[in-house]
Subunit: 217 residues, 2 copies
Amino acid sequence: MKTVVLVSGGMDSVVALYDAAEKNEVIAGLSFDYGSKHNHCEIPFAKYHCEKLDIPHRTIPLQFMNDCFDSHLLQNGGEIPEGHYESENMKQTVVPFRNGIMLAIAAGFAESQNAEAVTIAAHSGDHAIYPDCRSEFMDPMSKAIAAGTYANIQLLRPFVGIRKEDIAARGEELNVDFSQTWSCYKGGEIHCGKCGTCVERKEAFALAGIPDPTEYL
Amino acid sequence: MKTVVLVSGGMDSVVALYDAAEKNEVIAGLSFDYGSKHNHCEIPFAKYHCEKLDIPHRTIPLQFMNDCFDSHLLQNGGEIPEGHYESENMKQTVVPFRNGIMLAIAAGFAESQNAEAVTIAAHSGDHAIYPDCRSEFMDPMSKAIAAGTYANIQLLRPFVGIRKEDIAARGEELNVDFSQTWSCYKGGEIHCGKCGTCVERKEAFALAGIPDPTEYL
């Protein structure tokens, strides 16, 4: 099945890329530059892995989101909160309907490029605080994409039944070099180790029993 | 209800703007510059009507669609076909998943601006050839938007049960100046009168029994 893979450069989507390259024909990896504090850290890794797998990579510029969307994740937003990723204050890092926007663009791109599917790395641990990660969103979005395209583009969610630590294990199996992935929301020189996504990254490696190659502040 | 209105500058969406301004609190009119041949003709009219109604107007730049999407409607695409808008060759003017993309962005924008709804002028005459105009698309998209936002953003389709000629009649009732709207896909100096959307525009005025103020080539 010809698929377009959403690849941010984070560990989940990079594993999804390798997983899809094994199972499907990946016609492109898509990244989105929506003006977050960490886009400049993560997107080069998305490009790196696409090049390694000989998959065309494209970055879609969505700078208007930084101009008129409300989120601490964005350059124009407030400070990134520290703490556990399931805490209430992590809501500040939600970018409204980001998954909806990325999936919609990927669906149109896929239809234009004669692909049959779009792959997203959403997993069962994706948080209750992110409304556009829940299956209550993903299920109707999947239906909308199929009905709204001639090719009945399918939404593939290979990790929907597993957790982040299982994705780490799957990446290990696929020989993914996790040192070439980025999670930290702060977008500094190295991972801060304290923001929600750094905490989650550390936990995933620990639970999977895999050495964490990340340098934290 | 606070709503964001999708307003292209065409006759349907301009009437939807006036209709929403009467019934709701319109917090913004959104246009999308996706690199079509006629965006430069229609968007100034969207802005004109928003200013007239004292509604903030914003144009979202989506030039990447012209670069990597496949449609004759785009500047990089082939010639606009002439003929009846229900003809098979009008499929060439479909921009893949355009409504999905515009609605997704509008949903994120609406959530960021504390709005409660997004309004789209989709109507019952919207063509079978456009998959992302059908209710098979709109219904799940509506569910995805509600589930994917904290505010449970609603999708308002005030014209879903009526036809284009009824929209023209509603516009007449609302004193909409139709000379300040644009339909023609060719994006020339004046309306060509021969492309699918020009044919449809003429028909709507004729069926509604309203004088057509449009100058055709």
